[in-house]
């Protein structure tokens, strides 16, 4: 990499609690990939789901405050956040503030105005675009060969496309390619951008059990050993609620649900505790321990048809 990658970093509230392992592995992986994350000083809540359902101006002001703080950092090329929900709020408010009239209304609520100069990206987009699968591949010291993953992006990482401006909104491939770069296999997973039920887990658990159950069913039927996600809420619904889902749907899934940063971290040589694997509810340890044997079997299987072809 010719130039130093330096970004303003917005951790988001999930990273302080329910998705500590995402936060931990994100920081570790970025450091290992030479991406400097500068925390936005005194960052505040992005507004999450409630704010924009009540008042667009106030919601934009909540995100706007963080945008304005980030713009005062020196030498950063973008604002990054691991959480798709934070990403949506930051990007939507930056998008809406392109309208000068709206921007003036929001800026009136802030201590200092948003200049709207820095692009907002997900950590996934930054790793995919600024580092890229090709640069990641040679850095992987422990390939995850034999691991079959259902890449699950969640419903808002890529949508609406004209605001998120990243990857295909029906069939995204960034995470697929990153996982393949570290030796894993991304299985066909048609529900990449389907809804997991999101925060309905609190109010209407049955909805999450139905929707997330479908995701697990589809991942399993397509041969995945595990799901890999990029969203704290998706991960929580699929992992923490997997027992509830199994009971409600009469299934017996035992499917680990990783953050993609955890798997990249492992491939870069980090220990399970460095990437917070112990925080996962469905333990991935047995699966990960079986990988060397699977890799061996896969290599044997790959040899056979090749030798057959040579004979004929």
């Amino acid at each position: 990499m010719s130039q130093k990658l330096r970004y303003a970093y917005y951790p988001g509230c999930s990273g302080q609690g329910t998705s500590k392992e995402y936060e931990q592995s994100t920081r570790a992986v970025c450091e290992a990939l030479g991406m400097e994350l500068v925390d936005i000083p005194d960052w505040s809540c992005c507004g999450s789901s409630p704010a924009h359902t009540v008042d667009h101006r106030l919601s934009s002001a909540l995100s706007g405050r963080n945008l304005a703080l980030a713009e005062r950092l020196e030498g950063v090329s973008a604002i990054l956040t691991p959480c798709p929900s934070c990403l949506t709020n930051l990007k939507v408010s930056a998008h809406k503030m392109k309208d000068p009239e709206f921007a003036a209304e929001v800026n009136a609520l802030l201590d200092f105005p948003v200049r709207n100069t820095l692009p907002v990206k997900s950590i996934l987009q930054a790793i995919y675009e600024d580092v890229g699968p090709d640069a990641l591949r040679p850095k992987a010291v422990r390939l995850l060969t034999g691991l079959k993953l259902a890449p699950y992006y969640g419903c808002i990482m890529n949508r609406p496309p004209h605001i998120m401006e990243f990857d295909d909104h029906e069939n995204p491939i960034a995470m697929d390619q990153l996982m393949e770069a570290i030796g894993a296999e991304a299985v066909t997973f048609p529900l990449k951008v389907e809804c997991c039920g999101a925060s309905f887990g609190v109010a209407r658990r049955d909805i999450v059990q139905k929707l997330s159950g479908k995701l697990l069913d589809t991942a399993a039927s397509n041969g995945a050993d595990a799901v890999v996600t990029a969203c704290p809420l998706c991960q929580m619904n699929l992992d923490l609620r997997q027992d509830q889902i199994n009971v409600a749907n009469n299934t017996s899934h035992n499917m680990p649900v990783f953050y993609y940063t955890q798997l990249i971290g492992l491939a870069l040589g980090m220990t399970p505790s460095q990437v917070g694997l112990e925080k996962l509810e469905v333990s991935p340890m047995a699966l990960l321990e079986s990988l060397p044997a699977r890799a061996e079997a896969q290599a044997q299987a790959a040899k056979k048809p090749a030798s057959k072809g040579a004979q004929s």
Partner: protein, 657 residues
């Protein structure tokens, strides 16, 4: 000069919001005006007679009619003025309906504006000069571009009417989209059985010259005298000696070539005749898949050909056809449905287009008329039809209705039940559009007799699971989400103008819309004409339409050509550009800007001058605004005439101020 002004009430259309009596009164004091009067309907028989009487009685030199648009009645009143014995160009029109009464409610302001417009028309008319048409002879041959059912109908009608017809077809056979269809709605009769004989008629008609595997390269000339450069694309087979025996196809080793006739669901040989009823029944080589062209080795077709027709060195051949009229019947293509990511964007083999399904249903298709899904060649039991894929969908830039999909989907649902009696068909639709003769009855049959399950709603997603295609959509009548586990999904993909239609429109100098459909002269009253004289439209090239409508329009275009050719000579429009030789410096900027190639260089007493070819000039006036010397002037729209109008307008403003 003595000018008469006639202000039309148009019933209450104008008089309702314009004080027409006051307009006529004001006109009386305008320069050169000798007579002014209001009239109830200027275009009616007594209205026109009033104009004629006034001209004759008062000895008027010209007339201004303040009424509707020149497009509506300009030619009507020009004929009126001519009947009164004046030159028809000694006439001006002030549009006080569309430009005044219909767009404003303030009667005082409207009246003032109407007076201004009349004053401008009067000022211009004072500068008008008589203009005279020229006669020129016409070439009574017609070219038809596109050999689908509309082009075939137009060709046969013209040829039966005694005209010499040149039919140009892009692919190696005529037949178009209709030749790909298995059956036709609402009669479920075999498509190739009704089209085939017509194709044979084209081949055998003594008045029709067919150029297949040919495209229009350039078009020169004007109505009555077009020269069309046609590129006959190399087929690498000498069609004069090829008998269509098919021996080459049997022996060709490259059997996995793309088969566009079968919509890529089957494969064909590199040298092929697209289908058994092809006209002309001649073989051609697909360079991209031919082993001889790719590696230099093979040549089997040349060895087996009994007439030695194979010619690997064949080149494109250019020919020039001289014709008096052109019918564009270039048809449609399916829009690129891969923009629909939610339907898999082409990633799933068992999501196919309706035209691919049609080839599967056809007994002469690649599956021999057996419905087999592409992924595993198994017979599907549950088939989902999704309507309006690229129709009535602003999100993909296709706001229009393709119009025939509702009908062919009903047909395909019926045929599916015939082919696989224990199958189930689901149709997701927005509305059922079946406004033809026996059409609605037909869609009801699909539902009631053949049990097709119609679900009113859009499909949000199609995805594979456990060997099935899960189709998720909404049933808006039940207000519920529905999921269907399908074996095969058929998309009713919308139509757009055929590939290359925009380029052809540029060559023909006709208008086209952003979907590649050619623009007709008037949406209601000139459905087969274009704004370029001598160029007509037929079939889906003008807009999506079903077979009966395409055939009707083919016949209509033929009738237009026959009526055009019923005269031996045509009158030219004298409203063309004219060069003032004294002022022209021969810079030839006008020739460069002329979009019609109507200006040529000439030499007058050793000096280079521009010269307008009057029969080619369309009177657009671009040259006039280009010429710095003001040497080239559009007759009836000269700088002096336009300035007179502007001055009249400004003088009224200074008066008011």
């Amino acid at each position: 000069m003595k000018i008469g002004v006639f202000v039309c009430h148009c019933g209450s259309n104008i008089a309702g919001t314009v004080d027409v009596v006051q307009v006529a009164e004001a006109a009386k004091s305008m320069p050169e005006v000798a007579f002014a009067k209001d009239t109830m309907y200027a275009c009616s028989e007594p209205g026109q007679q009033g104009i004629i009487d006034a001209i004759k009685e008062m000895g008027l030199d010209g007339a201004v009619v303040a009424s509707c648009t020149p497009r509506m009645h300009g030619s009507t009143f020009m004929r009126t003025v001519a009947r009164a014995g004046l030159n028809p160009y000694m006439f001006e029109m002030a549009n006080i309906r569309e430009h005044v009464s219909w767009i404003g409610k303030d009667k005082v302001a409207n009246t003032r504006k109407a007076i201004d417009l009349v004053r401008m028309a009067v000022a211009k008319l004072a500068q008008n000069k008589p203009l005279y048409s020229q006669s020129f002879s016409i070439n009574k041959r017609v070219m038809i571009i596109g050999g689908g059912v509309a082009g075939i109908q137009a060709a046969l009608d013209c040829a039966d009417g005694g005209l010499q017809v040149v039919l140009v077809e892009k692919t190696t056979t005529i037949g178009g989209k209709m030749a790909k269809l298995d059956k036709t709605f609402p009669t479920v009769d075999c498509s190739s059985c009704i089209l085939g004989p017509r194709m044979v008629d084209v081949a055998q008609h003594p008045n029709i010259t067919l150029h297949a595997s040919a495209e229009v390269d350039e078009v020169f000339g004007y109505v009555g005298n077009y020269q069309v450069e046609v590129r006959k694309k190399a087929t690498y087979v000498n069609w004069k000696t090829c008998t269509g025996c098919g021996a080459c196809m049997e022996k060709c080793p490259s059997k996995k070539s793309k088969d566009p006739f079968n919509e890529l669901i089957g494969t064909t040989t590199a040298i092929n005749i697209p289908f058994p009823q092809a006209i002309p029944k001649r073989a051609s080589i697909d360079r991209d898949s031919c082993i001889k062209f790719k590696t230099g080795k093979c040549g089997i077709c040349a060895k087996v050909c009994p007439t030695k027709a194979i010619d690997y060195d064949q080149q494109d051949e250019m020919i020039t056809e001289e014709v008096g009229a052109i019918i564009a019947a270039t048809g449609f293509d399916l829009m690129d449905w891969h923009v629909y990511g939610q339907y898999g964007a082409g990633r799933y083999p068992d999501v196919i287009t309706s035209l691919q399904y049609e080839r599967m249903l056809s007994a002469s298709g690649p599956t021999g008329g057996h419905i087999k899904r592409p992924s595993d060649k198994k017979e599907p039991k549950t088939i989902v039809f999704i309507q309006c894929v690229g129709s009535r969908d602003k999100s993909v830039g296709r706001p229009y209705c393709t119009g025939f999909c509702c009908m062919y989907t009903a047909k395909q649902a019926i045929l599916t039940k015939d082919h696989i009696p224990d199958s189930e068909s689901y149709v997701f639709y927005m509305d059922i559009r079946a406004p033809g003769k026996m059409y609605d009855e037909f869609t009801r049959r699909a539902m009631e007799e053949y049990g097709a399950k119609y679900i009113r709603g859009r499909v949000s997603m199609v995805y594979p699971q456990d060997g099935k295609m899960i189709v998720r959509g909404v049933d808006t009548l039940a207000g519920a989400q529905v999921e269907v586990e399908a074996d095969l999904v058929v998309l009713a993909v919308g139509a757009e103008g055929a590939a290359g239609s925009a380029q052809l429109a540029e060559k023909l100098r006709i208008s086209y819309d952003s979907y590649g459909f050619f623009m007709e002269g008037h949406p209601k009253l000139k459905p087969v004409e274009t704004n370029t004289a001598g160029v007509y439209l037929a079939g889906c090239a003008q807009g999506p339409k079903d077979i009966p409508s395409s055939v009707a329009q083919g016949s209509a275009a033929a009738a237009k050509v026959l009526s055009l050719f019923s005269k031996d000579q045509l009158q030219s429009d004298p409203q063309v550009s004219k060069v003032d030789l004294k002022r022209c410096v021969g810079c030839m900027k006008c020739a460069i800007t002329c979009p019609f190639g109507a200006i040529k260089e000439t030499e007058v007493r050793g000096e280079i001058k521009a010269q307008v070819i009057e029969t080619i000039c369309q009177g657009c006036g671009i040259c006039t605004s280009t010429c710095r010397q003001g040497a080239i002037q559009l007759q009836n729209f000269t700088d002096n005439q336009i300035l007179a109008e502007v001055n009249a307008l400004l003088s009224s403003e200074t008066e008011e101020a």
